[in-house]
Symmetry: C2
Subunit: 165 residues, 2 copies
DNA sequence: TATTGTTATACTCTATAACTATA
DNA sequence: TATAGTTATAGAGTATAACAATA
């Protein structure tokens, strides 16, 4: 509450009456990321782990260095992340016999199964976020967002959510 | 690059061919937040500081506890944040004579000036994010986003960006 | 010597909880 | 005793840089 005896504000400090698209995008984007994190937490996964699983599935056989470059993260970070997924039997590090420094990363069968469940969770999440819109509006929104993403050079498969949050 | 001699993936692990709206929202939202952070860094501000300045401007005279509740942040966090803004002469902590435990928060003239520059930066940022869209499309997008935000109970003035990032 | 993966260290950010001053 | 603000401590998460193995 406001402190008694305190004057009311002059009106020139009012914020924009209607927030712009960029403001809404950060606000909703952050909200959506948090809700998605809650959902995948029930699969015992964090957003970074989920992004990593996806990346390994999209491009199997990559080395850790290559994957780090793709995701824009320091290689040392992948180690701890992969350790957790490796122990749970979700990913495999296969030594390359031709160059024994390299580890080829692959999803195990359990990893593929889990990825399917992640896809289901993602679908439910998408529905929840767009609940206020009709099917047609949702299609319109998706198309506009895709144009913005492309305009800013955002990599289609990789979202920054795996590093923040 | 993929490691030589490594088999190509079976096709059942492919990710969704077209990302859904929720995925795009988190991706673009994170991108927009990062770009905005870069812009206000030139004003020597972080996103949390900017959000706090805005909040003080919207509801001047609030106590720190009240503001903490509004923003959903622990009161102890506001202290350090306010210290920085206070030292720079952007906000004032006015002791309430009726209850000397309370600090009424206000923007100084310099704080108001800076807030106007923040608004300019925000406008340029909004334009940059929406550069790929026509005016009409931008209006459509903003309306759809506003509906989603309202549907999820997001507070109009307060975005979560001041706490993350 | 250069590169891959790993480990060790340090740093940033944040929350929790103890402390003080006022009531 | 209860509350506002502050300070202190500790924890999570991350990046930087040193290290061992392999080329």
């Amino acid at each position: 509450m406001a402190i008694p005896g305190d004057a009311r504000p002059p009106r020139d400090c009012a914020p924009p009456p209607t927030p712009g698209a960029a403001f809404l995008l950060t606000q909703i984007g952050s909200h959506a990321a948090a809700r998605f994190a809650e959902r995948i937490a029930e699969l015992d996964l964090t957003p970074p782990q989920t992004g990593l699983l996806r990346a390994v599935a999209v491009a199997p056989g990559q080395s850790q260095q290559a994957l780090a470059r793709l995701l824009g993260t320091p290689p040392s970070r992948l180690v701890a992340l992969l350790d957790g997924l490796d122990e749970r039997g979700l990913v495999e590090r296969r030594r390359n016999p031709d160059d024994r420094r390299l580890h080829a990363l692959h999803l195990t069968d359990a990893g593929h199964d889990l990825l399917r469940r992640i896809a289901e969770v993602g679908q439910a999440h998408d529905d929840a976020i767009c609940a206020a819109l009709s099917d047609e509006e949702r299609t319109t929104l998706t198309a506009l967002l895709a144009r913005i993403a492309a305009d800013h050079g955002l990599t289609p498969g990789v979202h920054p959510g795996y590093r923040h949050l």
